[in-house]
Amino acid sequence: MSDFFTEAVLIATVAGGIRLAVPLLLAALGETFGQRSGVLNLGVDGIMLLGAFTGYYTVLKTGNVWYGLLAGIAIGIVLGLASSLISVTLQAEQGISGIGVYLFGLGMSDLLFQRLVGTPVPITKFPKIDIPGLSDIPWLGGMFFSHSVVVYLAFLSVPVAMFIINKTNFGMNIRAVGENPEAADSLGVSVSRVRYATVTIGGTLAGAAGAALAIDLGIFQQNLTNAQGFIAIALVYFGAWRPLGVMAGALLYGFVNSLVLQFKTLGIIPQSWSDIAAMAPAIITILALVIVARRFRAPSALTKPFTRGT
């Protein structure tokens, strides 16, 4: 255990937790928008996978990480619109249609990868940025201020999301539509337009999350996200539909994972127990859901399609 309390290991644990949190955070923030407006999109992981492949492939072809991120975002927008069509216009059962999107993304990203790329080839990664001054602070600098640029972008999007949800008309509309779509509709707020927007934001951020993951790892592989999209959805509940809570959840999840890895590396957790240790994040999430559910109420219209006049 004493091996654990060294500067290098502690920095790596915290920094690793932050890195692991990034795709979860981005995807979960996006999902927060959708859920706040009453739409549960279970297809996040499928969108992340296609975003990851698109981002990866673009960087492979252009060598430019920003084009890759943009491509991931673009595919996220397309899939977000498709998801809106499915859940808002066609009013498909939201608990299930997302599973279809997931399976589609899982298969399609792999199919495209096999046909267009074949064998994994490494790509350029996001540049790492040491924040001048801050990154030199002992301990903390390494933990918080020496990361790849998407890490900062992801965490910056938290206050942006808070601002949009709490301070803008659009955000007010989102909250209204998620609680009482009839009331919003009766005042001329277009429920479907708001939901299209939020689900598309969700798709966009999921696409970005996937691209960020692939470009940060510098590689693509079948099922790259490994069901992180589902974790992201759970984190939205964990965070009680609030960006700050979602961020806390993503960080907690990342840290637990990172900690387990460190413990295994240092032999603190024996290998034979690694499967049991791997349950930790899921079980912690369930416990957190119990606590959150007691305290906070989900948006009333969550998973309920809206039709005028009923």
């Binding site: 009331a183 919003a184 009766s186 005042l187």
Partner: protein
């Protein structure tokens, strides 16, 4: 009145699958007047108004505003035409503040950002102008019913509605709140606004309206100005025959107390004390009416008796059996029948059929089981008997209850609850929102049950109903009984008691 009506609806027809909800309806409204739409449940009043507000599109017919033909395709275009609507059910977002609810859908002076300060200011202004004081920063779920109604009106005023539709705005208000509302409404007509009013309460209609149009089965079947109209004349116009507004009550010998409540104390949903040291007895063969402004613990009282809510202290017994904090089944076993106030929420299952709903409390009963499986022959026979006996109008026993009218759903619930021989019957808001024909019938059944030696507790905010039915009246205020009076008390006195004034003070002042 101006020469050109502010609204003309001509030949409006609206069909739903299998229903002709509006059939060639003509309707008009002049600035400065109140025009009431009257009709039984399902007559098509709300549908006509939803067509006007752009929530539905008419299949046929045309609309003119101030003489100009218009098509209104959405609430947005209705709002643009200065039409406002207070819906039958509150259209408020509970988790938003009053100011946010008002600001919803408006253009903000700060572009993409909200400008709640400006909105709040204007809310306060409008409030003082029309007697609609409200805290703009309050979150809506914290508001009392009457305050929510104010927010609804402020929403319309804020949007400068010249034509305001009020679909049963008084259904959930106390007499005092209704008076206050009417004051505001009169002020609005004085300002030159036109109001369309819908209500099942005839004295309100008479008090407020200038003209009255009656709908039946989607068609206009009657029209009158308020002058010269009486409750009886309106009732017969609606139903198509003469209606008895107050039930005949035979003399009944009252027996022992079948429902005894002592020292009851109950904590409400928000952790506050909602019933505080309440004592009450209801005797066999009497109807005890509970009058009170909603939110003073009536609902909690009924639910606690029925075993749906726990008592903190005190005891409840039914026909001598202690049922304090018993399970609902145990309370029923002791002889309680309960007609809850939310007939769609608590009293029935919308998508279940008539027969299935009639089975709700008896589905475990041996009578309907055969080797552990439901016996459909027995169930159908039983259901048909009840449907016939209680005159529930339904196309079949397999019709989902949701597609019945409110009055018929209420009759169905009553049929189910009275199918045993209850010691105690609680009827909560038994005729709220129910049309006159159905209400008349329900009152008749309650009185008949009184003759069967059942102890009946009627909870109602409708004083006509309380006075018409009760042998004794208990007035409830803030979780306590302010006093038990007989029906000789005046409306003014009881109104004061409902506001927390004791009997003695009320009689004095």
């Amino acid at each position: 009145m101006a020469d050109v009506p502010m609204l003309e609806m001509k030949g409006i027809t609206k069909r739903f699958p299998g229903v002709l909800a509006n059939d060639n309806v003509d309707f008009d409204l002049y600035a400065g007047e109140v025009h009431t739409l009257l009709g039984e449940n399902g007559a098509g009043k709300s549908t006509l108004m939803k067509v006007l507000y752009g929530l539905y599109q008419a299949d046929e017919g045309e609309m003119r505003l101030n003489g100009e033909p218009v098509t209104i395709t959405s609430p947005t275009s209705a709002i643009e035409h200065n039409i406002g609507m207070i819906h039958q059910h509150f259209m408020l977002v509970d988790t938003l503040t009053v100011a946010e609810n008002v600001a919803l859908g408006l253009h903000s002076s700060r572009g993409a950002l909200t400008d709640l300060d400006a909105v709040s200011e204007k809310i306060v202004d409008l409030g003082s102008q029309y007697g609609l004081e409200i805290d703009p920063a309050a979150t809506v779920w914290q508001l009392a019913v009457g305050q929510k109604q104010r927010v609804e009106i402020i929403k319309a005023l804020y949007r400068e509605a010249q034509l305001l539709i009020l679909d049963e705005p008084t259904a959930v208000l106390t007499p005092q709140e209704v008076d206050q509302l009417f004051e505001t409404l009169n002020q609005m007509t004085a300002d030159g606004r036109g109001l369309i009013f819908i209500s099942h309460k005839l004295h309100e209609v008479l008090a407020l309206s200038d003209r009255i149009t009656v709908l039946r089965q989607g068609r206009v079947t009657g029209y009158t100005t308020t002058e010269g109209a009486t409750r009886a004349s309106l009732a017969s116009m609606m139903v198509g025959r003469d209606v008895k507004l107050a039930p005949d009550k035979p003399e009944v010998e009252t027996g022992s107390a079948a429902l005894e409540i002592t020292g009851l104390r109950v904590i409400g949903d928000r952790g506050n004390v909602v019933i505080d040291g309440l004592d009450l007895d209801v005797r066999r063969g009497e109807i005890l009416g509970i009058a009170g402004v909603s939110g003073n613990g009536q609902r909690e009282l009924a639910e606690t008796i029925a075993g749906l809510r726990d008592a903190e202290a005190g005891s409840i017994s039914i026909a001598g059996t202690d049922v304090t904090n018993g399970r609902p089944v145990d309370v029923r076993a002791a002889g309680l029948a309960y007609v809850p106030e939310g007939r769609m929420k608590d009293g029935s299952i919308g998508l279940f059929t008539v027969a299935e709903n009639l089975l709700l409390i008896d589905h475990n009963s041996k009578e309907f089981l055969d080797a552990g499986l439901l016996n459909f022959d027995a169930i159908r026979t039983h259901s048909q008997t009840l449907v016939d006996e209680f005159a529930v109008k339904t196309p079949s026993l397999d019709t989902p209850v949701r597609s019945l009218s409110g009055g018929n759903i209420q009759k169905l619930i009553l049929a189910r609850e009275l199918s045993g021989t209850p010691n105690v019957l609680i009827a909560s808001q038994p005729t709220r929102g129910v049309d006159i024909g159905a209400a008349e019938y329900i009152h008749k059944r309650l009185v008949a049950q009184r003759s069967e030696d059942t102890a009946i507790l009627v909870i109602s905010e409708d004083l006509d109903e309380i006075f018409g039915l009760s042998d004794r009246i208990a007035v409830m205020y803030e979780g306590r009984i302010m006093g038990i009076v007989d029906t000789s008390i005046t409306r003014e006195e009881i109104g004061l008691m409902m506001a927390g004034v004791t009997r003695e003070e009320a009689a004095a002042g």
